[in-house]
Symmetry: C2
Subunit: 205 residues, 2 copies
Amino acid sequence: MNFSSKLLEDAVGEFSKLPGVGQKTALRLVLHLLNKEQEEVEHFGNAIIRLRKEIKHCNICHNISDHNVCEICTGNKRDKEIICVVEDTRDVMAVENTSQYFGVYHVLGGLISPMDGIGPSDLFIDSLVQRVATTPVKEVILALSATMEGDTTLFYLYKRLKDFQIPITTIARGIAFGGELEYADEITLGRSIVTRVPYETSIIR
Amino acid sequence: MNFSSKLLEDAVGEFSKLPGVGQKTALRLVLHLLNKEQEEVEHFGNAIIRLRKEIKHCNICHNISDHNVCEICTGNKRDKEIICVVEDTRDVMAVENTSQYFGVYHVLGGLISPMDGIGPSDLFIDSLVQRVATTPVKEVILALSATMEGDTTLFYLYKRLKDFQIPITTIARGIAFGGELEYADEITLGRSIVTRVPYETSIIR
């Protein structure tokens, strides 16, 4: 692209480094910002800079937080003895949005993926084992994606945790609510028949 | 969404104000930035702030520029007597990318659009007329989109400029290179037959 301004080129270059943003989209976003009030644009820029500079990770669960210990880990309505293990902060948000879970979390910071060179030592797995070993825990829920990496991580975590003699559970797999049987893949449908549940427990309360 | 951090919420909020960016995309972009080096993120934020603060518009053609007069208007290889009138800076880039045009530009800053409350006085039309009246001009090329607003603006500009007795041209409309006749709309195809050109002039040199 032929930019008429170095400043413009710079800003477009920065935006197009973002995932899924090409040069044309970047240009559209930058021109949109140019039409905004200077104050608004400064707020935008500063929000990004401050985020990166001041953000903390919870010392206990490793979730993104403004404090050294996050609000969930300090919340007095949360059951600290149930730990839900998730991949990243997006999964914490997803579970929180359901309003169905009142325990605490443990954010791994990724999944084991030999293809991407991510091994157990790159994730917060030792600190999870430490947590289970040193604090009273009555259940560990493994809420990981149903992918190859998720399953690998699941299996590894199970191996590391099984000797503690506490219940280790995973979230239920099956046909989604609103899902039609004829479009379900055969593995999901097959497992959902094998792991069928009594009708009473399937009702949403 | 349940954010575990005010800083995170702020940054996601700012990103999701951008056109075409929803909350989920905003979150993905922000988490991507969180994984970057602090220096890189600061550069990103500052590029945006500086852009809005320091950007100028060329005093002659109103294109975005780092200087009071843009590089095209000061370029000594450009024919200052041919003015290409375009809607915005994106169109300047598009024409520049063709490497087929060596005149100068005039950026209107939009198109006449009564539906959006944009009238001739909101655009740099008076300054175009002024330019034509006070500097030697041998051709005005109207390179506007082939939309309702583009045609309205075209007609208005033609009315304002026709008394200066200089050639006023518009860019050619027709079937795009690589375009198949059977998929062309009838108006374009019809006009392209009516405004047919000698074979020799249709060859790309």
